[in-house]
Amino acid sequence: MNSITRSLRIALALASAVAGRCEAVDASVGMQSIPTGAYVPVQRSTQDPESVPVAAFRLDERPVTNADFLAFVTAVPKWRRSAVSPLFADASYLGHWAGDLEPGARAPADAPVVRVSWFAARAYARWAGKRLPTTAEWELAAAAGYTTPAGKNEPAFNRDLYAWLARPVPDILPSVATARATLHGVRGLHGLVWEWVDDFNTAMVTGESRADTGLERDLFCGAGAAGAKDTSDYAAFMRSALRSSLQANNTTTSLGFRCASSLP
């Protein structure tokens, strides 16, 4: 793990050097500290631990916006819509932008950027001197409610969460400022867009294929509950289902990201 972290740091340093900048984006979005905790996966195989310890880390206080992403593609031309490799982003990458360097009316500057692939999100994070949060980190941060560490026990928090899940994706996404801050001072983990995590496809890469790994890996129908910890957390099931439906080059109209960083 340490060696991987180290090589990641080297990669980050390289990416930053290539991009020729590493401070402007850091300044544009504040980060909040998420205290040490434990992530209890909603679905796991029999081999997985019931709970995953998560070290304290720092998380962007809001998702990456169109303005942020514009700065990135301006600095790193290979991630512009017309230049990106289809291996790293599918055909609808930034499809709602007016042009390569012009988000346009359908992508307001202060709205979360969407239609970005995992590869693109990861490249952005490196460029910004950060990284994507892991599933465990993201879920730990997202479990906090407005006033307590366990949002699922807060009626107002749950009401907002399910209200968002019940609505179709709007044509034009709202400003990141519209999301209410949670206990940790982080906004929009729920209620704005889905967000990429670094290990989004964990469920897929550990086994040979879905069909071969048996019920505990299978998300479908009643079988989805076979390895589930808390079957009443529908929102967690939905996030889990969304992550496992994705390929790293996929983009969707409601999927964005934010960055994290480890504490020294």
Binding site: D199, M204, S209, C221, G224, Y234, A241, L246, Q247, T252
Partner: protein, 499 residues
């Protein structure tokens, strides 16, 4: 904790570029199936998909085919009841989803497209599919993507299909289900009209009929306490000008399915007997002369009946609170000529005296006429209608003991400093009209009764004019009080006075 190596796996998926979907589909993409030459040689046809209550035409061909089905998932806001909307997740834009009709032995090339505006991934489990998940894993599709798989329809029957993405009860509870009919090789007997109806229940945070865009209620779903139980996804979807229509003499067949996610339906058509039922959607046995057929969640049945007489036939879930309180009600309107031998309609409407007389006899009819005459005369004659003071007093006493005694007490003495007395009350005696007004409209604020100040509140009394007159007659003639009786006319005059 093991570290997951995401990048190589993601790239592995990308190297499978054999089909249009392989480069973008979920991991586990295996590339197109190689069909044997005999299968490849089968004619290819595009499936006709219909939205409810319509059914694709019967399959005329006597050979198998490669049937191409393209079904699109869309998350859309639609009406669930008058003034109330809901975000439905649909197959083909309707609830239930598009009806699919194929023939036993057909090879089905099935593509599920998930609209780019979808918030969620979806898939499809077709109960007509033989194979793990019924196609669920093979069709698991992110927003803005499409997945294809092929299956052979081995078993004839009427089958439910539904979304099987976690949390499944929510996907089904938002409308993701439909029917696929696999016709037996020899087809089904011809009928005049075919309809497509599916029952499903909806769990909303608002109550039944609460206006505005309604949210899914997870707690109600887990408790299986639906707000709505519906035919074809909305209150009134089969009512009025949207009722199913047929003519007398026609044979009608309904393909009826239950999406659930939880409830079993007791499907019944009021005023019809199903001549034939294919229970549970199976094709082997036909039951005859059935009143109500039970259809489990995730199950289906075919019912068939001939329309003998005209009228409106009401489709219900005979667990009737669902029909009367939660929306599970539809209509089939049969037009055509009456046959009064089969069903006469109402022949007689006569007065009935229960045990007092033999119904319908001449003497009982004369008795009834006489009673009505007397009643009319009593109503018309003021001498009789205006009751004596004594009778009014007795009735007024009953009203007093029902409405007034709690505060003014049975002896009319009231409660010291709280509720003023009526017995010997100078306030009561001083103004007859004011007394009526107080009973009708209540009284709040300071008053002085027999030299004592009271400041309390009496609510308006929900009494009839006659009860007001009676109770005041009682009060002004009890506990030492004495006064003229109050009449209904007095009460009405005060009631109508200008304010």
């Amino acid at each position: 904790m093991k570290k997951i190596h995401v990048l190589p796996a993601a790239l592995l998926g990308l190297t499978l570029t054999a089909s249009a979907f392989a480069s973008e589909g979920p991991t586990g993409v295996q590339g197109p199936v190689v069909l044997p030459a005999a299968v490849q040689a089968l004619p290819v046809e595009q499936a006709i998909l219909t939205s409810p209550p319509h059914v694709p035409p019967p399959i005329a061909r006597k050979h198998n085919a490669r049937v191409v089905v393209n079904l699109e998932v869309r998350e859309v806001v639609m009406k669930i009841a008058d003034g109330a909307e809901y975000t439905f997740w649909t197959y083909g834009g309707s609830v239930p989803g598009s009806f699919i009709r194929i023939r036993e032995g057909d090879i089905v090339e099935f593509t599920l497209n998930n609209h780019p505006s979808s918030k969620l991934p979806h898939n499809i489990d077709l109960h007509a599919v033989t194979g793990p998940g019924g196609g669920a894993a093979s069709t698991f599709t992110a927003p803005g993507h499409g997945s294809k798989f092929t299956f052979k329809a081995l078993n004839p029957g009427l089958y439910v299909y539904h979304c099987a993405t976690a949390p499944v009860p929510m996907h089904i509870g938002n409308g993701m289900y439909g029917l696929i009919l696999v016709e037996p090789k020899d087809g089904l007997p011809p009928v005049d009209k075919e309809f497509y109806v599916m029952q499903g229940e909806f769990y909303t945070q608002g109550t039944f009929g609460a206006p505005g865009l309604q949210n899914f209620d997870m707690a109600k779903s887990i408790d299986e306490h639906p707000t709505y139980v519906l035919f074809n996804g909305a209150v009134g979807s089969l009512v009025g000008d949207k009722a199913l229509a047929a003519a007398v003499g026609e044979r009608v067949r309904i393909y009826f399915g239950v999406g659930g996610p939880n409830l079993t339906s007791s499907f019944h058509v009021i005023g019809e007997i199903f001549d034939k039922v294919w229970p549970e959607g199976g094709m082997r046995y036909v039951q005859e002369h059935v009143q109500t057929t039970m259809i489990p969640s995730g199950g289906a049945a075919i019912v068939e009946f001939k329309l003998d007489v005209p009228g409106t036939y009401v489709l219900v879930d005979h667990s009737l609170s669902r029909a009367f309180n939660k929306g599970a009600l539809g209509m089939l309107k049969a037009s055509g000529p009456e046959d009064r031998v089969i069903y006469s309609g109402k022949e007689i409407d006569a007065v009935y005296f229960g045990s007092q007389a033999e119904a319908g006899t001449d003497s009982s009819k004369r008795e009834a006429e006489l009673k009505e005459k007397i009643a009319a005369e009593m109503r018309a004659n003021p001498a009789i209608a205006g009751l004596t003071k004594e009778v009014q007093f007795e009735r007024g006493k009953q009203t007093y003991m029902a409405s007034c005694f709690a505060c003014h007490l049975p002896d009319g003495k009231g409660m010291a400093n709280v509720f003023p007395p009526l017995a010997g009350s100078d306030f009561l005696k001083a103004d007859r009209d004011r007394a009526i007004r107080i009973v009708l409209k209540g009284l709040t604020g300071p008053v002085t009764v027999n030299g004592v100040a009271y400041n309390s509140a009496m609510p308006p009394q929900p009494l009839t004019d006659e009860q007001v007159a009676d109770v005041l007659t009682f009060v002004t003639n009890s506990w030492g009080n004495a006064g003229e009786p109050y009449t209904v006319d007095d009460v009405r005059r005060v009631k109508n006075e200008a304010h």
